[in-house]
């Protein structure tokens, strides 16, 4: 069955953000060229959207640079050959010699005439000018349904209300506010919904596309949540053991654990970025809280907790290092088995130390360092924050976005689930031989699944 193709032309003034819009809609960072100079896009570039059963093609066009002149030119043509205004446009397009200096505009208009609907992109930060009115006049004459798309609406300078009022005065009431910098899923869905309305016949196909895109976003979110959940489970189950009678051993063990956790977090972040379409060295990385390959705040910085509004409620190991809790081994069974309920028992170690070798001799002589509750919460909170930032990042983004805040409540809630992994060291690939994957276990999978749901849903 031959599928009909819906052609959507993206038109507008120079630098209104047409190519940015294309990048966001096609999820391709490398589509076309973007610069602030005039005539950056000098040809029509088509993108075919993949979908079973229907084809939708988006066309990026050169900007309409001199619409005032073009309008005058078209009017002159219309006067020469008495016909209606749509004819004038067709006459202009069909004869390359009649283009004059309007070669770029001709390409854009030709594509427009071949399309079923046009997205007219405007920079909402600009006031409505005579050139915009001329552009709308020309577009109106092509007899193609026009959907104005207000870009950069998230910017402080943008006056969406004024634009809507002005557009209403030329009878354009279906307007989309869409910011290609700060991605808004609802905005994209609304865009496709309005396209469906304007192109009647293609409404089912467009709806299907919108559903497909929403579905993909949801899967991406769940996949990202699962990456974070794996990190948290491995971090919670990670531990290092040391001999109690060796004074330096505790510090060494704590530092080894911290190193391994930092490294693991780094890998999780890399995976998250890759999943969401970020390349290493991507300029947009600078705006995310992942600067220069590492976090801006060290996870184990004693002040980090306070900065993020989390309180270190558990007894942190004294003298060793921040962010770890110490546990004791009692002949192979760890007292920290009770730590599955989250109770840190660092105080026991204090007692052991104070009474020196006597108590240490009675116990099996092994101490265990694990990640403490507060730091686990911090890890969870900032991963969650990163997820939010990534989900909101449009592919057309070139400028920075605002900082998102770490939510300590969410972090603690996630940590409460994750710490059930404590006491099951085989669940973490961070214990034991490097490169060995964690033990596959239905219970571990169930925990990861539950945690992932919590991360995605929170």
């Amino acid at each position: 069955m031959a599928t009909e193709t819906l052609h959507i032309a993206v038109v507008g003034h120079t630098n209104a953000g047409k190519t940015s819009l294309m990048r966001t809609l096609t999820r391709r960072r490398d589509f076309g060229e973007i610069s602030s100079r005039p005539a950056t896009t000098r040809h029509v570039e088509a993108a075919e959207l993949e979908m079973p059963g229907a084809a939708i093609r988006l066309y990026d066009t050169p900007g309409l640079e001199d619409s005032t002149g073009l309008l005058a030119h078209l009017d002159a043509l219309a006067r020469e050959h008495a016909g209606d205004r749509a004819d004038a446009i067709d006459r202009f397009l069909s004869d390359p010699d009649a283009h004059g200096p309007f070669g770029q505009e001709a390409k854009a208009l030709a594509q427009l005439r071949r399309s079923g609907v046009a997205l007219y992109v405007v920079d909402a930060r600009d006031p409505i000018r005579a050139r915009h009115r001329d552009e709308l006049e020309i577009l109106g004459r092509t007899a193609v349904p026009i959907l104005p798309v207000l870009n950069f609406v998230a910017d402080a300078e943008a006056d969406e209300a004024a634009w809507r009022a002005q557009l209403a005065r030329v009878n354009m009431h279906a307007v989309i506010a869409f910011d290609t910098v700060v991605y808004d899923e609802a905005g994209e869905t609304a865009l496709y919904a309005k396209i469906a309305t304007l192109t009647d016949r293609f409404a089912p196909a467009v709806d299907r596309l919108a559903r497909e895109i929403t579905e993909r976003r949801r899967e991406l979110r769940r996949a990202s949540a699962r990456v974070i959940a794996e990190l948290l489970v491995e971090a919670a189950a990670a531990e290092r053991r040391y001999r109690l009678d060796d004074p330096a051993a505790e510090r060494e063990a704590a530092e080894a654990l911290q190193e391994v956790i930092r490294d693991r977090e780094g890998r999780a972040v890399e995976e998250l970025l890759a999943l969401n379409g970020f390349a290493p060295g991507d300029a947009r990385l600078a705006d995310l809280p992942v600067a220069h390959g590492g976090w801006q705040d060290d996870l184990f910085d004693a002040d980090a907790l306070a900065r993020y509004g989390l309180s270190a409620g558990t007894a942190a190991a004294t003298g060793a290092a921040a962010g770890v809790a110490v546990d004791l081994a009692l002949g192979g069974i760890t007292l920290g088995a009770a730590a599955a309920t989250g109770a840190g028992i660092g105080f026991l170690l204090e007692t052991a130390r104070r009474h020196g070798g006597r108590l240490a001799g009675r116990l099996s002589g092994e101490g265990i360092v694990r990640l403490d509750d507060a730091t686990l919460g911090l890890l969870a909170a900032r991963q969650r924050m990163l997820l939010d930032a990534l989900m909101r990042r449009g592919h057309g983004a070139v400028a920075p976005i605002d900082d998102l805040a770490v939510d300590p409540e969410t972090g603690q809630a996630l940590a409460r689930i994750a710490r059930r992994a404590r006491g099951t060291p085989r669940w973490s690939a961070l214990n034991g031989a490097a490169g060995r994957p964690p033990a596959a276990s239905m219970r571990r999978e169930a925990l990861v699944e539950e945690l992932a749901r919590a991360v995605a849903g929170a």
Partner: protein, 503 residues
């Protein structure tokens, strides 16, 4: 097990196995070939399956999977054998030594069917009230555990481990897990009951068994009723059952000897109970669970699995292909490139005017300092804020008629100086005379908020180039941010517009 794993599931298993093995390689000829194979498919899942099937590691992965399946079959078969033998042994013990020794019908039935019925009811209860619970402790889950254990002992390398993991996940993860475990459980119980039935038949055929019942406190009527009730299902299946007289006659009481017993009804009862309360329910349960397990196992690939999710942008991008139409063959372009002209504006201000100066705002909104800008000379001719080309022409005409020496156009830096801008500049230059035209570029602050340092510089250079192309002198182009009019800018503006002595 071959019943359960259909061909489509095999494909998915392969993809699941490989996805967790290939540590995001994504390079090499194998990858490219696989990408090509995926290209022809439509649909994300089909692409993923085609990709993995085309990878060079697919063949060893498939072999691993086959080996794991075979191991699973062997384990299940072995367990079935054990169950069969266990059932046979139980039956043999329960039937007694033979030779006419009496066998208590209730003990017999209880030992053969008791545990089975109890667990079956328990299973039904769990299914009814908590179907989402992962299949934890059941015979079926135990069988899987045994298989995993043996598999780990046999091979610890990455590929077999991944294959076993993928297989386990597909079999045991919810929602399939419960049904797979149940299938195995029911199957094993069927084996047990089958063994029991077989041994019972052997016993009944080769030994002389007399069926009795006895009681201390209950009466004959209750027992008759009980046995009668028991006999309902066997009777429905067509097995003979003892009638009241035969039941009464079978009672063993101290001292009395049993009369000759018609073996048929009692044997019929025994076998009928075994079939009706044992084999039949378990078979029905097995078939039901088999159907449900099949459906659950046929579930598609989990696209939210990071191992797949990270491949989707490359394999099944939203945009399938892009092509350039109407490629620009005119490389010269019809505008001067800013790079051909040095960026930057004149360092010194132009000399003060000798006559009146006309000022117009071109495509700008009302600036922060108001219009006309303050500090202008007394001879300033205010042409207002112009928008369209006609306005420009009219304004320029007014300026000429008023005898203005200069025409100062204030333009917005955030506007891209494209051909429309050039046309406007050309129009003003033509109307007022190119060497009398001055260009003040405002809103530099807004420009720097929107663009980076480099881009801002480029934008200013483009404006200068556009002015140059229209014939303006370099020193006639300056930047005066009317939205942030500091004293320095005021002085400049005053000087250009001929304000006398305004400092």
């Amino acid at each position: 097990m071959g019943l359960i794993i259909a061909a489509a599931a095999q494909d998915r298993l392969l993809a699941e196995t490989l996805a967790h093995c290939l540590s995001g390689a994504g390079v090499g000829a194998g990858h490219r070939r696989a990408l090509a194979a995926a290209e022809v498919q439509r649909g994300v899942e089909d692409k993923l399956i085609a990709y993995h099937r085309a990878m060079p590691e697919a063949a060893p992965a498939q072999r691993s999977l086959t080996r794991q399946l075979r191991l699973l079959r062997v384990v299940v078969a072995a367990l079935m054998l054990v169950a069969l033998l266990a059932g046979a042994a139980t039956a043999a013990t329960a039937l007694g030594p033979g030779g006419g020794a009496p066998a208590n019908i209730f003990h017999l039935l209880a030992s053969l069917l008791g545990l089975h019925l109890l667990l079956l009811l328990l299973w039904l209860a769990v299914i009814a009230f908590a179907p989402e619970q992962p299949a934890g402790r059941s015979l079926g889950a135990g069988a899987i555990w045994l298989w995993r254990r043996l598999s780990r002992m046999a091979a610890k390398e990455e590929l077999p481990t991944a294959a076993a993991g993928a297989l386990t996940h597909r079999l045991m993860a919810p929602p399939a897990g419960r049904w797979t475990a149940s299938v195995l459980t029911h199957g094993l119980w069927l084996g047990y009951l089958g063994g029991a039935l077989a041994m019972t038949l052997v016993g009944l055929s080769t030994e002389h068994i007399v069926f009795i019942w006895e009681t201390t406190i209950l009466g004959a009527e209750e027992f008759a009723a009980a046995i009668g009730a028991l006999g309902v299902v066997p009777a429905a299946l067509g097995f003979p059952a003892p009638d009241a007289a035969e039941i009464a006659a079978a009672r063993l009481q101290g001292g009395t000897t049993l009369q000759a017993q018609d073996p048929r009804p009692w044997s019929g009862l025994l076998v009928g109970c075994l079939v009706g309360y044992g084999l039949l329910p378990r078979t029905l349960a097995l078939l039901a669970c088999l159907g449900l397990a099949r459906r659950a196992l046929a579930r598609p690939l989990d696209l939210a699995d990071p191992a797949f999710a990270r491949m989707i942008p490359a394999l099944a991008p939203v945009m399938r292909r892009s092509e350039i139409l109407d490629r620009d063959t005119d490389t010269a372009g019809d505008r001067p490139l800013a790079s051909a002209h040095p960026a930057g504006m004149a360092s010194s201000d132009p000399p003060p005017p000798t006559g009146p100066v006309a000022v117009l705002g071109w495509e700008i909104a009302m600036p922060a300092c108001g219009w006309p800008p303050p500090g202008g000379g007394a001879d300033v001719i205010d042409l207002g804020l112009c928008e369209s080309r006609e306005d420009l022409a009219t304004a320029a005409g007014r300026a000429r008629r008023a005898g203005a020496e200069r025409l100062l156009a204030v333009a917005d830096l955030t506007v891209t100086p494209d051909r429309g801008v050039q046309a406007g500049l050309a129009e003003m230059a033509a109307a007022a005379g190119a060497d009398r035209l001055f260009l003040a570029l405002t809103r530099e602050g807004a420009l720097r908020r929107r663009l980076s340092e480099d881009e801002s510089r480029e934008r200013i250079a483009d404006w200068v180039a556009a002015a140059h192309a229209a014939g303006l002198r370099l020193e006639h182009v300056l930047a005066v941010d009317l939205d942030a009019l500091g004293p320095h800018e005021r002085r400049r503006f005053a000087r250009i517009t001929g304000a006398s002595g305004g400092h």
